[in-house]
Symmetry: C2
């Protein structure tokens, strides 16, 4: 941007590095912010500074919080004994939006990947094995993405926990609510057929 002041250029350049934004949408977003300096830009800068200062990963489960332990790990109302294993904090938030799970979480921070050279010690898998023994866990629910790496990781974790006496389950696979068969891939239809239930 010739002739845009240097800070504005820098702001656009940084915003364009966010996922989902490119140079053009970053310019639009920055102009919108500048037009709404008082009601939007200043509060955004303030809350962003606060989050940058306070956000940190939970030492126990890897979720994002503001202390050593995250809100889920310190919540007395949640059930102990069940740990839901997710790949990422975004997946934890997705599970929480569903409001179907009241236990604890464990955020791996990724999946095993031979291609990207990510092994168990790069994720929080050893920490999960520790928790299963130390927290008297009865069930580990694997809520990993149904991708090749996700499935590989699920198998690895099931192996690592075999012999610990904990029951390892995973989310059911099948037709999504509201899904139309004609638009589903063959793998999903096969999985749904194999897992068919009596009506």
């Amino acid at each position: 941007m010739p002739d845009a002041p240097r800070d504005i250029e820098a702001l656009i350049e940084i915003m364009a590095r966010l996922p989902g934004l490119g140079p053009r949408s970053a310019r639009r977003a920055v102009l919108h912010l500048i037009k709404k300096r008082g009601p939007l830009m200043r509060p955004l800068a303030e809350v962003m500074t606060r989050v940058a200062d306070t956000a940190r990963e939970c030492l126990n489960c890897g979720n994002i919080g503001t202390g050593d332990l995250c809100p889920v790990c310190t919540d007395d109302k949640r059930v102990n004994g069940q740990i839901c294993v997710v790949e990422d904090v975004a997946d934890l938030w997705a599970m929480e939006r569903g409001q179907a799970f009241g236990g604890r979480y464990h955020v791996l921070g990724g999946t095993l990947s031979a291609l990207d050279d990510i092994g168990p010690e790069d994720l929080r898998i050893p920490r999960l094995v520790d928790r299963v023994t130390s927290e008297a866990v009865t069930e580990v629910i694997l809520a990993l993405n149904a991708t090749v790496d996700g499935v590989t990781t699920a198998h690895y974790i099931a192996d690592a926990l075999s012999g610990s006496g904990v029951s390892v389950t995973s989310l059911a696979q099948g037709v999504p609510i509201g899904g139309e068969l004609d638009y589903l891939d063959d793998g999903t239809i096969s999985a749904a057929l194999r897992a068919r239930k009596a009506v």
Copy 2:
């Protein structure tokens, strides 16, 4: 986001109000920022605070700068006597990227719109008329969007400046560079045909 700390929820909520971002992409962007607190989030918050503190509209042309006058208005190397009229600062930046214009600008801040009840005094049209007489302007180039409101505004400005002796021009309309006729709308093809040139 149940169980996300309150500041992070607030950050997602504000980010989701930016053009081009929705709740889902705002969550992704915030998680990305939190993962890259040092190299990305903190610089972003700092530069955003600086821009919120310093950015302001040029008193002369409406462009965004950091002082009473913007970098374009104070640039001695630019040609006087030619003013390019644009709707928005984003359009000024688009013109500057083209590097085809070396004169001054005038940012209207919108277009006339009967529907939205925007009249000449809501835009910087009176200020444009002032500049044309006070700055010894010889040509006003209307670089407005080729929308109904843009064309209406162009006609209004041409009327307002008639009698001042200034020459009022507008960007040529026709086939865009690299454009394929089969994908162009009928209006553009008609305009390009009417404005045909000897090869």
